[in-house]
Symmetry: none
Subunit: 235 residues, 2 copies
DNA sequence: ACGAAAAACTTGTATATACAACCAAGATCC
DNA sequence: GGATCTTGGTTGTATATACAAGTTTTTCGT
């Protein structure tokens, strides 16, 4: 591994472990250069790339600092919570709460082009980042398009990943809302006190029609959506 | 202007003018270094940054090439609140709360590429749909790029619309969050009780750099973001 | 003519150095 | 006490150099 990459790895570990909290100062170019026995330009490159990735922000004459740690994603990209967490250097895990077949509710029937009370697959999964719940995923899946969905092991592979393999996405619709979570959601997200949550409602299509309808709910304090702005946000 | 930036400008002009078509080869690091009388490392930086921006792609041992031109992001045009309200058949209006020049806070300076306490324009506007507040827009504008911003009448024309005319957008970054509104926000949105709010933080760029940083806050019960799903959502 | 070796060229990584721009804090002067 | 100056630390830009790694072209031997 290149030296500048090793320095990046080191710094990511420090940030992930909490040793370097948000908005705390990180070692200067010269300090890093000495610690790792490299030239300043090499240390600088590590700082620079982490800044471009939105992990750090820097101010000339002042120093380099840890940016806000909230997870981030892009609306334009296909949303994959597991990769997103891994990309931030955190450990991803998932808890499968439920995986059943049930009679299709009216709303879901409309969204997926089924008839009411037709069988539909339903999965409920909590996505965790470093052991902390980051997103509750409630997903309805069209059994006509993905008949083996209910037999999968979603501790190992996210529904998103499995669906991408079985029924390649051709289109996706999104709604983003700020909502007040109900008790059920609070429980699974381990929210002691209710707080504003971001809910992404998403319907995906493959060539043959609607594949799934998913409700992705995340605590507002832990998750944000969007391209990374490489500077700290207030509050 | 820094030398590496001049080289970038030159290359961008060549690409935009069509002199360097897609997938054509661009000068090598050494060629650029000689043409511009700079060191190879400086020429390299120009190539590197254009690559990070997706303008070029490079292959070790082969060369650097013009990438396929970006397709315009749909996100650029989505969030024009006035058109959105009018599109739903409601009457749009706006209340200008504040329009001043003030010393640039650190965060804003970083975001807009200004120096701290440099003068920056600030506008605070409430967007109303059928008389009901729908969005509070707090916007910082780079006076170097839009010097006449402070003289505009934003009761008639939204900042977004004016900025689109003066400094055509080339790029936009977004963050979407679910937040708990402060008292100030509640007041201007006429929220009797605080409720989860959707906050869109958006930084826009024109060809010459960052133009404005805007915080768009809407009550979660009145506003949704994203493509319209053609079915009702559960409440 | 063919294949292998060598050369030439490209990008990638790394170092050492120099100076400029900027900021914060302490020292100094009045 | 307050404004100004100095100083040290930090990031930003630029140069010259060296070698590594990958690709393409040329050369050379058979």
């Amino acid at each position: 591994m290149a030296k500048f990459a090793e320095i990046k790895e080191f710094m990511l570990r420090q940030i992930e472990s909490g040793a370097w909290p948000e908005h705390s100062r990180v070692p200067s170019e010269n300090e890093l250069a000495e610690q790792f026995s490299v030239s300043r330009m090499t240390a600088r490159r590590a700082l620079q790339e982490l800044t471009e990735q939105g992990i750090l922000y820097r101010t000339q004459g002042v120093g380099s600092f840890v940016a806000a740690l909230k997870s981030q994603s892009s609306l334009l990209q296909i949303h994959n919570i597991a990769d997103e967490i891994a990309g931030r250097g955190h450990t991803y895990s998932a808890t499968l709460v439920q995986l059943t077949e049930l009679p299709c509710p009216t709303i879901v029937a409309t969204a997926l082009g089924l008839k009411r009370n037709d069988p539909v697959f339903f999965s409920l999964i909590v996505h965790l980042s470093a052991g902390q719940p980051l997103q509750l995923e409630a997903r309805y899946v069209n059994p006509l398009q993905v008949p083996l969905y209910i037999q999968q092991d979603f501790q190992e592979q996210t529904p998103h990943h499995y669906l991408s393999m079985i029924a390649p996405l051709t289109e996706a619709e999104h709604i983003v809302e700020a909502i007040w979570p109900d008790n059920f959601t609070c429980q699974h997200l381990q929210l002691k006190k209710p707080e504003p949550c971001l809910r992404l409602t998403r319907r995906t299509f493959s060539r043959d029609g609607a594949v799934s309808l998913a409700y992705l709910t995340s605590p507002g304090s832990r998750y944000r959506l969007g391209g990374h702005l490489n500077f700290a946000l207030p509050r």
